[in-house]
Symmetry: C2
Subunit: 131 residues, 2 copies
Amino acid sequence: MNSTEDNSPDNLTGAFLRCDVMAADCPSRKVLQHLTSRWGMLILVALLPGTQRFSSLRRKIEGISERMLSQTLQTLEADGMIARHSMNTIPPHVEYNLTEVGAEAAVKIHDLVKFIEDSQTALLFAQQRVS
Amino acid sequence: MNSTEDNSPDNLTGAFLRCDVMAADCPSRKVLQHLTSRWGMLILVALLPGTQRFSSLRRKIEGISERMLSQTLQTLEADGMIARHSMNTIPPHVEYNLTEVGAEAAVKIHDLVKFIEDSQTALLFAQQRVS
DNA sequence: CTGTATCCCCTCCGATACTG
DNA sequence: CAGTATCGGAGGGGATACAG
C-alpha cells in the first residue's frame, strides 16, 4: 500500500528503536494521525461504551458518511485499535469493538474531547455576555 | 471568513448551548481538529516544558516547515491555546507559550502521545521477533 | 530572526450510485 | 445491513522565494 514508507523490521534504526514523535520518521506520527483524524477520534469515543454495529455508529456520529465510517474503521483496525467481527449471516451483521490498546487510547481521547467541550461551552457563554 | 459557518453568539441554539462533539454542528469539532492536526499536537507538546521561540520550535519539531509552524501557531493562538509575545526588537524576538487552557489540553495530548509511542515501540519489537 | 507570498500537488472527504 | 466504486471539489501542506 505505502511503497514509499518502509516500516519493515529491517529498517528499525534510529528513531524506530525508541519511538519519539518529534522525529520526522517516527511511525507513531502516522498512528497518531489516524487516531486523531476528524472521524477517528469520534469513532473511538463512540465505541467506548461497548460493542457497536455499523449502523449504530453511523447514527451515533452525526454527519459521517458510510464511506468515511467504513474507511476509518479499516484504518483503525489495521492499527490494532479496533476489532471487527463479522457474523457471515444474511443480512450481514458486523460488530466492532475496541482492542485493549484501542480502549486505552480512546479513554485518553475522551478526556481531551470532554475538556474541549467544556471549555468551548464556557467560551461561548463568555462571548454571549460580551456582545 | 467562514460565511458558511456561523458561530456568532446569536446562533447559540441546540448543540451550541451544550457542546456535544457527536453533534454535526458543534464548534468543538473544529477546535479539536486544530489541536489534533498533524502539527498542532506536536507544537502543544513542544511548548509543555515552557516558553519557546519560533526557531526553537522549528528545531524541536523535526520536519515542520516555517509556513506550517507560523500558520498553526496562528490558528492555535486564535483558539486561545497559545499566547504570542513579540519583543518588537531588531532582529525580531517572539516568544510563544501555552495559555492555561492550552496547557491543560497539551497535557492530555501528551498523555496520548506517550501512550502511542510506547505501544508502537512494543509493537515494533514484537514484529521484529516474528519475522 | 520571524515570518509572507506564490505555486502546486495530493490527500481528505462529500455526493452519488451500485452490490452481495 | 454493510459495505464498495467513482468522481470531483476544497483545503492541508511542501518547496521556494522574498520581506521587515
